[in-house]
């Protein structure tokens, strides 16, 4: 999982340093706001703990052993902000001092393991453990699941970074300059080991330590990702209730490029130009029970089809060459517009106070 130097191009490394920087900044600000002057010793000890726990050999079912990163455990006990900084600190010491993970790839490793790992672990744990008492077995299962999903999410992001290298960076002879494997090799190769061994090691460590803390020192589970959201107001309750839906929306957004796998055009969604295209006409006839389409587009369809030109036709923005990126961007754009529209309607129908100022909260 720790990417060594030489596997990612300098520009990828720089981009991932830049991508990690805002997360570090926000995490440090959040931690300073909650810990105040305690932030330095806390971070130092958390970082040291993360470093040491990464050295543990976790015995796995089947007799083999594996190393865990401890990122989900840090998130469950300390919270995502502290986990991001503690694991990043541990990775920095590993890279500089122990040659484990590259110096140039430190930003990438921090992004993948500390940031993606912590945030995914946080989301999974909060959803899976929502509402359960700190001592319930569900907490332990949620923690193990968070560890398993988090490490696999981090591995997937790492694999994508690897897989993009041969697409962009080759020498004049065509030899890849950095990681040579395309996405079709990098993703299955990375995921196989993480779905079967590394993920299980993370699950065993996280669930095991949470089970131990439930019996010995349950107070440690009350902070971090286990902190209960105060249920003081209806708005807060609503925000908690909506969180799984937000998560589902995020997952669906990420999955939208799967739509590209569907071949052909949906029945009845033909464009005027399809009526002049023999291939499209054959598809229309096949989809219509053998009924041949008219030889020319219907007049009304021809006229109305030019009334409005979509800014993102066929979910493929003209400025993007990648089809899946265009699909994803279109999904994000569309979702954003829907949310804006709903927020606008909610603002219009919201009851107003006597002095004309808006009262209550918007539920979206």
């Amino acid at each position: 999982m720790h990417i060594p130097d030489g596997y990612l191009s300098p520009s990828t490394c720089a981009a991932l340093y830049a991508g990690a920087a805002p997360f570090w900044w926000v995490a440090l600000r959040r931690l300073k706001a909650t810990l105040h002057t305690r932030v330095v010793p806390r971070l130092a000890l958390f970082g040291a703990f993360s470093f040491v726990v990464m050295m543990f050999n976790v015995p796995l079912p089947g007799g083999t052993t594996g190393h865990a990163t401890g990122v989900a455990l840090a998130t469950v006990v300390l919270g995502p902000a502290a986990s991001i900084l503690a694991v990043s600190t541990a990775l920095a010491i590993q890279a500089f001092f122990f040659g484990d993970g590259g110096v140039t790839a430190l930003g990438a490793n921090s992004f993948n393991i500390a940031i993606v790992g912590s945030l995914v672990a946080f989301a999974v744990y909060r959803v899976a453990a929502a509402g359960s008492p700190l001592t319930s077995p569900r907490r332990m299962v949620a923690a193990g699941l968070a560890g398993y999903v988090a490490i696999n999410a981090a591995a997937l992001v790492t694999a994508v970074e690897f897989g993009l290298q041969p697409l962009f960076f080759r020498d004049p002879s065509g030899a890849p300059l950095y990681c040579p494997y395309p996405l079709s090799v990098a993703v299955p190769a990375m995921m196989l080991g993480h779905l079967t061994i590394a993920g299980v090691a993370e699950l065993v460590l996280t669930a095991g330590v949470v089970a131990f803390l439930q019996k010995s020192d349950v107070a440690l589970l009350a902070g971090g990702a286990g902190a209960n959201v105060p249920r003081g107001s209806a708005a807060e309750d609503r925000a908690v209730g909506l969180r799984p839906l937000w998560l589902l929306l995020g997952v669906l957004l990420v999955l939208t490029p799967l739509g590209l796998l569907a071949a052909g055009t949906a029945w009845g969604e033909w464009s005027a130009s399809d009526f002049n295209n023999p291939q499209a006409r054959a598809a229309m006839a096949a989809a219509s029970g053998g009924q041949a389409a008219p030889t020319a587009p219907p007049g009304g369809l021809q006229r109305l089809s030019t009334v409005w030109t979509a800014p993102l036709p066929d979910y493929a923005p003209p400025f993007l060459r990648s089809a899946w990126l265009g699909y994803l961007l279109s999904a994000m754009f569309g979702t954003g517009l829907v949310l804006l529209a709903v927020a606008g309607i909610a603002a219009l129908v919201r009851p107003r106070g006597r002095n004309g100022t808006a009262g209550g909260t918007v539920g979206v």
Binding site: D5, T37, A44, A48, P59, I93, F97, P180, G208
Partner: protein
């Protein structure tokens, strides 16, 4: 290895070995950084900037001969500074074997290109592009590991951190890194004691669930100890007047030899980037 020997070297032993290795490496690095040698006498800021420049050159180089020259230069620097070349070779070898072999070897046959040989028995074709790619991976990993090793084994960790201040790294991060390293050693020692104590009380072979429970207990105890220790450290810092502000002393002074070394590092990195582009 016999079944008995395999059983004897279970997860406890392997974890203990790992912890001991880390402690020994830290101790060896401190010892060599304090010894006499050309690199050891240089200003830490010069070494940090110089090795940083060389690492950038390694990342940017598109020629195998440039990478090989930089690696050879690193070995010469180790020899000139009386650093243990055997330990350096072992460090590079482990990094290369662990990280590169798994990825570089399949690249020999999986990278499309002009076939130059065939793997006996398997009938797979080794391509010229595959050889070049594997060379890039192995040489880049080996050279960067060598340069990082030279920095750490020729400079005290506290000096490395202090030198980071010269590059405008926020002081709070410098202090956190310094304290983390100190407590890494303390926790490594604690974890080692914990597992030795457990092993000395273990008779016979443990089954899988018991081993996993044991490890979880160890990690849990270590976590609780870390949190407890952070509270104590904070109180100790407060007792010494800590109010949230941290300061580090910047008492490095550049000498003529340091300037000369800085120019040499810059020239080497610049030449490597220019020739290897």
């Amino acid at each position: 290895m016999t079944t008995t020997a395999r059983m004897r070297r279970g997860f406890l032993e392997r974890t203990l070995d790992g912890l001991l290795d880390a402690m020994e490496r830290a101790s060896a690095a401190d010892r060599h950084a304090a010894s006499a040698g050309w690199l050891q006498h240089l200003d830490p800021r010069v070494k940090l900037a110089g090795f940083g420049g060389l690492v950038a050159a390694v990342a940017l180089a598109h020629r195998l001969d440039v990478l090989a020259t930089l690696l050879a230069g690193g070995v010469i620097l180790a020899l000139a500074s009386r650093l243990p070349v055997a330990a350096l070779a072992s460090g590079i070898g482990i990094a290369t074997l662990v990280f590169s072999a798994a990825l570089a070897l399949p690249a020999l046959v999986l990278t499309p290109g002009r076939a130059v040989a065939t793997v006996p028995g398997l009938g797979l074709g080794v391509t010229a592009q595959g050889l070049t790619t594997a060379g890039y991976l192995v040489l880049r990993t080996a050279t960067t590991t060598c340069l990082a090793w030279l920095l750490v084994f020729s400079t005290r960790w506290s000096h490395v951190l202090k030198a980071l201040r010269a590059f405008r790294l926020p002081v709070v991060l410098v202090v956190v890194l310094g304290m983390t390293y100190r407590y890494v050693l303390l926790l490594l020692d604690g974890a080692h004691d914990l597992f030795v104590a457990r092993r000395s009380r273990t008779v016979g072979t443990l089954d899988g669930p018991t081993r996993r429970r044991l490890l979880a207990q160890g990690a849990g105890v270590l976590l609780a100890r870390s949190l407890h220790l952070s509270g104590e450290v904070f109180l100790a810092m407060q007792a010494r007047g800590y109010r949230g502000e941290v300061f580090v002393l910047d008492d490095f002074a550049m000498r003529r030899a340091d300037w000369l070394a800085l120019v040499s590092f810059a020239a080497a990195a610049g030449a490597a980037i220019w020739i290897g582009r």
